[in-house]
């Protein structure tokens, strides 16, 4: 039972354009969502997060949107740069569990072409 799904395994965009990565979840108990970025042979690194009381969070070129009614979140990268080429994972947490456990999606490989 995949509680967090990233249905697009890969995405290719031109440098300077917008990248939109999508994520869907099924568990309505999730109340905190994160995006991680992963380069080959490295561990994931935190990118941006959003709590369920918000619908948007912005950090520089990165913006995460949350649509709770649709159980959907998306990551927008504007403008995209070649250095953004990586695997992006969305993750969800039920904060009240007080365990810090994250449920990850399968990941989307982003390629930004110069």
């Amino acid at each position: 039972d995949q509680q967090v799904k990233q249905n697009s395994p890969s995405l290719s965009v031109q440098e300077g354009r917008i990248s939109i990565l999508n994520c869907d979840y099924t568990n309505s108990m999730f109340d905190y969502f994160l995006w991680y970025k992963k380069y080959p042979a490295e561990g994931p690194t935190f990118l941006i997060s959003i709590s369920s009381i918000k619908d948007k969070n912005e950090d520089g070129r990165f913006t995460v949107f949350l649509n709770k009614s649709a159980k959907h979140l998306s990551l927008h990268i504007v403008p995209s740069q070649p250095g953004d080429s990586a695997v992006y994972f969305c993750a969800a947490e039920w904060v009240s569990s007080n365990t810090g456990k994250l449920i990850f999606g399968q990941g989307t490989t982003l390629q930004v072409k110069p």
Binding site: V4, Q6, P9, Y32, L34, Y36, A41, E42, G43, P44, T45, F46, S49, I50, S51, N57, F89, A91, E93, V95, S97, N98, T99, G100, K101, L102, I103, F104, G105, Q106, G107
Partner: protein, 116 residues
Amino acid sequence: NAGVTQTPKFRILKIGQSMTLQCTQDMNHNYMYWYRQDPGMGLKLIYYSVGAGITDKGEVPNGYNVSRSTTEDFPLRLELAAPSQTSVYFCASSYSSLVWEQETQYFGPGTRLLVL
């Protein structure tokens, strides 16, 4: 400040062998986690710990054991290696459970394990 370190980086095991994957963090984090990542899949939680002496199972604990005798160390033990345990293993830590944009999990570089 080294963050989260993992050893070894790569290991080949024969079926039935045992080994311990080491994980150490120097950030005085209470919470530590072990994940595995299979090709084309997301990270699956194996075990986690909310403090020294306290561990609990994650999504995929079978075939693994952990211990947490100190705040800094969280080793993962494979007793009887099987081909299904071929994967990349990541250790992570956080100060607490994630609280409203104030915290995140920090990951080590991973251990690539091949069981033949």
